[in-house]
């Protein structure tokens, strides 16, 4: 492939991915609605909301609030760019992690009780999912023998050897997507969308875009799990993996009620880490037996 074709594809992915992620979230809303015997909004409602927000008059409480919203967007977008360029997975993780911390700091900068409550909870969420996410990425890297995303796409057997890591990533996805039972930070019935509450208009749109990039990055990590020489098979299975992950997240969202923050910490700290450790142990055993 010519370099400029590759570059064009990469740029297209970087620009379009968040909107595709948003459409996926639109589908998610419809399916959730159907599960609850509702009709639900149109698929593109998420995007309509986004463009409407951009056109609104900017209202703000102070300037740092905006600075940190932009930082959040820039860092998660940068993480996604690094991912598309096929660079180091750990640096990508760090950039995205810094981004999510900025979101919480942004919520702290305003003097607002709900915003602060949300920011505190957001930080606890980060403490809950980040270790699991990092361990999952490390295990992927160790198994593939490289932390470069470009190399990882050349490895075929991740799903077969790391099924439990995939399970752990779904737990991370539940938190990242602010779904029950771990939507403690944005809990709309009690703290009215928490860290986002003091953002409005275009600034709220900025945080939304950031959120989509985060989501797109997660989906990117999921696509690492299956690779085949046959590009059609590869793409179909990748889409299937995303669909499975999303459906599981939805079912969990619909059958569970919100848990407390303590329960969330306990669950990810135990379940997430145990699942990954078990997967690690299985690999080590298999290696010692000589199967792989």
């Amino acid at each position: 492939m010519d370099w400029w074709v590759l570059l064009a594809i990469q740029i297209a992915i970087i620009v379009l991915a968040p909107f595709l992620a948003a459409i996926l979230l639109g589908l998610d809303r419809i399916i959730t609605a159907r599960m609850q015997n509702r009709v639900g909004p149109p698929v593109l409602q998420v995007l309509y909301d986004f463009f409407k927000l951009i056109g609104k008059k900017p209202m703000l409480l102070n300037r740092p609030q905006v600075i940190f919203a932009v930082l959040y967007l820039m860092f998660v977008a940068f993480a996604f760019v690094l991912f598309v360029l096929g660079l180091d997975l750990i640096i990508i993780f760090f950039a995205a992690a810094a981004g999510s911390v900025f979101l919480a700091v942004g919520a702290f900068t305003v003097r607002s009780p709900y915003s602060h409550m949300g920011a505190n909870r957001e930080l606890l969420q980060i403490a809950a999912y980040e270790p699991v996410f990092l361990l999952a990425l490390l295990l992927i890297g160790i198994q593939a023998g490289s932390f470069n995303v470009a190399d990882l796409y050349a490895v075929g057997d991740l799903m077969i050897l790391l099924p439990l890591v995939f399970v752990a990533l779904i737990a991370v996805l539940v938190i990242k997507l602010q779904k029950s039972p771990y939507d403690v930070a944005t809990a709309h019935q009690e703290i009215v969308s928490g860290p986002y509450i003091e953002y409005s208009g275009p600034y709220l749109a900025i945080t939304k875009l950031g959120h989509w990039y985060e989501f797109a990055l997660m989906l990117g990590v999921i696509t690492l799990f299956f690779n085949s020489d046959n590009i059609v098979v590869s793409i179909i299975v990748k889409i299937a993996l995303i669909a499975v992950a999303m459906l599981v997240v939805q079912v969990i969202d619909n059958v569970t009620a919100r848990l407390t923050k303590e329960r969330m910490l306990k669950f990810t700290a135990t379940f997430g880490i145990i699942v990954i450790a078990a997967n690690y142990a299985i690999i080590v055993v298999l290696q010692n037996v000589g199967v792989i």
């Binding site: 409480l61 300037r63 600075i67 702290f108 900068t109 009780p113 409550m117 490390l138």
Partner: protein, 627 residues
């Protein structure tokens, strides 16, 4: 100038200037002396680096046998031995003075083996006695530059103090002793300087002479003297088994001598006490009672850094025994995670910083345990950057204490308006300690190395610990930013900042930013030569590996500046925060992470686990020899 002479100057100049300032009666003269010393130290350390760089050597060795005092040549070894005994005697005297048996016992436990050793080794010469390699240069730069900035800052901070002459004398001698320790190749010299830092630390913590200060000082003395005892026994073992007192020779011996592991484990133990690792952390927490410049000095460029310096220095010896590597890494990992969890529950800024220091040193020690060329590079990078950021943070906290009379993070709300310069410096301190490329740069290496070298438990503690660390720093950052749309404070609340504060904080901010932008050069010109001389390879030599991190830094700066410039606030754009339709006064929920889990309980658990690991380390050292 000759590098050996520069090194000697870096040791003796601060000591002499310290004594000189003590002798000067007038405060203005003292201040001038201290100020001149600070500038000279910075220049001397830079000259030392330049000397190393221009000669192109990785290691420069010197013999310093005699010193001329009044025309009579006195062997330096003899002088140091005499001073060392005086020091031991003084420790025992302190023990008697405070009626503390433990101090007396620890004093005797150092005095006796050293007495025997001095008698045995009489006439034994160590050549070379001074070894300057890049690790020593890095340490000298950190000590001399960061240390001097802190001392200049203290000139203002201690302005109204009654005993400032003694204070500054001890502070400067401290720097001299630190430099002495990093240049010494003779283990007895190293030990002497090690114990001088113990004494300086004791005197500085005791400075205010209150009951609490005395108690904290004594606790620090007990812990670090205990480490000194381990060090003394290590030296005796080394001399009896290997018949050398040269650290260089010990490290290249390859650990084949009988009883080679035991002294290494003992030295590691000494380093743990100095670096306040769990379970020895309580002395550093107590040291908070000292004036803030003392905390800044202890936490950034001196004292605790000597502990991790020793570990990095003996890291080739730690690699002799795999289980030792494991146990050292575990102590670091336990300290990192334990202090991160404890820090979340604190609101006292100095206490948060103290826990964060222990945690950061834990990271460095983890690197030493992992012991690959990557990991040791990460250790040194962490050491440099931690010194700058931590000094900056302590100094800003000190200014806030002076200007706003609080050490409580919850009360730092609105700091962005009250003390904009200080708040900005504080933010830069926090950013550089946890965000790219500082924390991340070394952290990334560390994590990947730990993962690929197979330290699963360490990775687990590291992964949880770093997430929790982000939590408590983000909470702090948020609090100082919390503010309304504009800063319309009454003029009385706004305070004008002293020039000395502005200059010293500004200097450290400049250091922090320059170091992050030049991270690749720092690695290339300072860290790599040392790594090359130890491992024969340099892990990082292509710029591409650090490029994303530097882009992140630029991205960060760019976003902040551009948003400040382009986001305009007109009165009609300002909204009020959502209160759910109610109107009430509220205090921000800083106690969100309340103490449902008591500090003591968490401390107890981590102390317990760490104690087992430390005991295991000593047992391993013994058992490998016996079996």
């Amino acid at each position: 100038m000759n590098a050996g002479l520069l090194a000697l100057l870096l040791v003796f100049l601060p000591v002499l200037m310290g004594l000189l300032s003590l002798a000067a009666r007038k405060i203005s003269v003292q201040k001038a002396v201290v100020g001149i010393m600070a500038i000279t130290m910075v220049l001397l350390s830079l000259a030392l680096f330049w000397e190393m760089y221009s000669t192109g050597a990785d290691v420069l060795s010197f013999d310093a046998d005699e010193i001329l005092i009044a025309g009579v040549g006195i062997p330096i070894s003899l002088l140091i031995a005499a001073l060392d005994f005086a020091l031991m005697a003084y420790f025992i005297f302190i023990g008697v003075q405070y009626r503390n048996t433990v101090v007396i016992i620890f004093g005797l436990l150092q005095l006796i083996p050293l007495g025997i050793l001095e008698a045995m080794e009489f006439g034994h010469t160590v050549s070379p006695s001074i070894v300057i390699d890049y690790l020593a240069v890095i340490m000298a730069l950190v000590i001399s530059i960061v240390g001097s900035i802190i001392i200049v800052y203290a000139l203002k901070y201690m302005d109204e103090d009654q005993r400032q002459a003694r204070f500054f004398a001890v502070m400067t001698i401290f720097l001299g002793a630190m430099n002495g320790a990093v240049f010494s190749n003779n283990l007895l010299w190293l030990f002497f300087f090690w114990e001088v830092t113990t004494l300086c630390c004791f005197l500085l913590i005791r400075h205010e002479r209150t009951k609490e200060a005395n108690e904290s000082a004594l606790r620090a003395l007990i812990y670090t003297l205990g480490g000194g005892v381990a060090f003394a026994f290590a030296i005796v073992l080394i001399f009896t088994q290997m018949e050398t007192l040269s650290l260089e020779e010990v490290l290249v011996s390859g650990g084949i001598a009988a009883w080679a592991i035991a002294p290494v484990a003992l030295m590691a133990l000494a380093a743990f006490t100095k670096a306040a690792q769990v379970p020895f952390q309580s002395w550093l927490l107590g040291a908070m009672i000292a004036p803030t410049p003392v905390s800044a000095l202890l936490h950034s460029s001196t004292m605790v850094k000597l502990g991790v310096y020793l570990l990095i220095r003996i890291s080739p010896a730690i690699a002799w025994e795999t289980s030792l590597m494991w146990l050292v890494a575990s102590v670091g990992a336990i300290s990192f995670l334990g202090t991160a969890i404890l820090a979340v529950m604190q609101t006292n800024a100095k206490r948060v910083l103290a826990y964060s220091t222990i945690g950061n040193l834990g990271l460095i020690i983890m690197c030493v345990g992992i012991n690959t060329s990557f990991a040791i590079s990460a250790a040194i990078v962490l050491l440099i950057f931690h010194a700058v950021s931590k000094a900056l943070l302590f100094m800003t906290v000190g200014v806030v204490k002076h200007e706003a009379q609080t050490l409580d993070i919850e009360e730092m709300e609105n700091l962005r308006c009250k003390l904009p310069f200080v708040a900005g410096a504080m933010l830069i301190g926090i950013f550089t300690i946890m965000l790219p490329p500082f924390g991340m740069f070394a952290g990334k290496w560390l994590i990947v190395e730990a993962a690929s070298s197979g330290f699963p438990i360490v990775i687990l503690l590291l992964a949880i610990g770093s997430a929790v660390t982000a939590l408590y720093y983000a909470k702090w950052m948020g609090r100082i930013m919390t503010v309304g749309a504009t800063c319309d404070l009454p003029a009385a609340v706004k305070s004008k900042l002293s020039k000395i504060y502005k200059i010293t904080l500004g200097a450290l901010v400049a250091c922090a930013i320059a170091l992050s932008l030049l991270i690749f050069q720092v690695v290339q010109y300072l860290v790599n030569p040392y790594i090359l001389s130890v491992f024969g390879e340099t892990p990082l030599s292509d710029f591409e590996a650090v490029l994303p991190l530097i882009v992140m830094l630029v991205l960060f700066g760019g976003v902040v500046l551009l948003t400040m410039k382009f986001v305009k606030i007109r009165p009609d754009m300002v909204s009020t925060s959502y209160m759910g339709g109610e109107n009430f006064e509220y205090k921000l929920a800083g106690a969100y992470y309340d103490k449902r889990v008591p500090d003591a309980g968490v401390t107890y658990i981590f102390n317990f686990v760490a104690t087992i690991v430390v005991v295991a380390m000593l047992m391993v050292a013994l058992l490998t020899e016996v079996i």
